[in-house]
């Protein structure tokens, strides 16, 4: 078993789709919270297998997309500091800030380097003692434990030139905000598989209890997504609102304590601004006082006067499930991956980029 091909069996996928069609009794809106699920749905052609009664809404689970314009502008501003190296995940490069982008700054000669793993940024700090290395920390509960371990390494090795710009966010508070805003009609949540590796499925109990919405934590292969949708529909039909795990090979009710401990050791919760959702209480992570010497926000000028979102861009509405990408006037006309107006058209798991690529 390699845990990939087995979960891509087209015959079984067909059978699952048939089962879904049989129990699809009325119009049901399901939100796939995670951008990686959106990509899986399109990449494997699952959308075409589903009956017309099932509406899939992309949610706020794309870290690049939900990063506030102010944070993006701060990242771009940091790149202009003297003797600085910016280390970033590739998805951030083309995101348009108010006045520029990291990609444009790089073209102007700024030292901006794309990394696959945050540990590469530690190596950069070690190899460039005369420069300050700033890692752009974006990502949810899947990623923040990794960044936490890098901060602990930097402390252990007593690096004086290593900084994190923490723009890390937490998924459950965003789901709560969505329900409180009530702008999108959601009958069930397909919960993010890899965020849940860390936080466990119990983290969604409050959604099912307080808002009476079924939740299923699903994996990312075709059979995972289809089974997840089937489990959600079954709950909807029975008027149930439980939290179930489809992705049991990686996710437990309690999650991974090692990962959470790392997160808790280095970060603390704080109110942060999300694109589309505004400021959400305790929905972000900042470095604890003990680690402030690694905190870019405390050690650099982060003010970005004039920071504003492009008013024509619907990214914020799309992240709430209030609009579909093709309902945006810019989509595929002026806004394209090579000329993006907002982050949803940039990130590989942005809803607009995914809809554009697969022309749904």
């Amino acid at each position: 078993m390699k845990f990939i091909d087995e979960f891509r069996d087209p015959r079984l996928a067909g059978k699952l789709a048939e089962k879904i069609r049989k129990i699809s009794l009325r119009r049901v809106n399901l939100m796939e919270v995670c951008g990686t699920h959106t990509v899986a749905v399109f990449r494997h052609g699952l959308k075409d297998m589903l009956p017309p009664g099932i509406g899939l809404l992309s949610g706020p689970g794309c870290p690049v997309c939900v990063t506030s314009q102010r944070d993006i502008d701060s990242m771009i501003k940091l790149a202009g500091e003297k003797r600085v190296i910016i280390a970033t995940f590739g998805d951030m490069m083309k995101v348009p800030g108010t006045f520029s982008s990291l990609e444009k700054e790089k073209a102007l000669g700024r030292d901006i380097r794309v990394v696959y793993s945050p540990s590469e940024s530690l190596a950069m700090a070690r190899d460039n003692p005369g420069k300050k290395v700033i890692f752009l920390g974006i990502g949810f509960e899947t990623t923040s434990p990794l960044i936490a371990s890098c901060v602990l390494d930097a402390e252990r090795m007593d690096f004086k030139n290593y900084f994190i710009l923490s723009s890390h966010k937490l998924v459950p508070p965003a789901m709560r905000a969505l329900m409180e805003k009530g702008e999108s009609k959601i009958d069930g949540f397909l919960c993010p598989g890899h965020v849940s590796v860390t936080i466990g499925s119990d983290a969604y109990d409050f959604i099912s209890e307080k808002y009476r919405i079924p939740c299923v934590v699903a994996g990312f292969e075709p059979l995972d997504v289809l089974q997840g949708i089937y489990m959600l529909l079954r709950q909807v039909n029975r008027s149930e609102n439980r939290v179930e795990i489809q992705y049991t090979r990686a996710v437990s009710r309690k999650g991974n304590e090692h990962l959470r401990k790392l997160m808790d050791e280095v970060f603390e919760k704080t109110d942060v601004e999300w694109r589309g959702l505004g400021v959400i209480k305790n929905s972000g992570l900042r470095l604890k006082r003990k680690f402030l010497r690694f905190d870019a926000r405390s050690n650099f000028d982060m003010k970005t006067p004039g920071s504003r979102e492009n008013k024509k861009c619907s990214c914020g509405e799309i992240l709430k499930g209030a609009k579909k990408p093709f309902e945006c006037k810019l989509f595929a006309k002026t806004c394209k991956p090579e000329n993006p107006f907002g982050p949803c058209m940039v990130s590989t798991e942005g809803a607009c980029a995914t809809y554009y690529k697969y022309r749904a």
Partner: protein
């Protein structure tokens, strides 16, 4: 961003595992995985192992799906 790919551990040295990720060899930091061994499958996210993949659970899931298809 939250992409994590199952990979097989080929060897381990000081918390760094050499892994086979769908035919491509890579390195993964496995400090967060207590007791991961050569031969185990792990989920690799941005160069770090974040969880073991549990084969028994995977089998159960596939059995349920096969049963549904009958």
């Amino acid at each position: 961003m939250c992409l994590a790919i199952p990979a097989k551990i080929l060897s381990i040295k000081h918390n760094i595992a050499r892994v086979d990720m769908g035919g491509v060899e890579r390195h993964a930091d496995i400090r967060m995985l207590g007791g991961a061994r050569t031969g185990d499958y792990i989920l690799v996210h941005a160069g770090f192992g974040i969880e073991k993949v549990h084969p028994e659970e995977a089998k159960k899931t596939l059995e349920i799906i096969r049963e549904m298809g009958k």
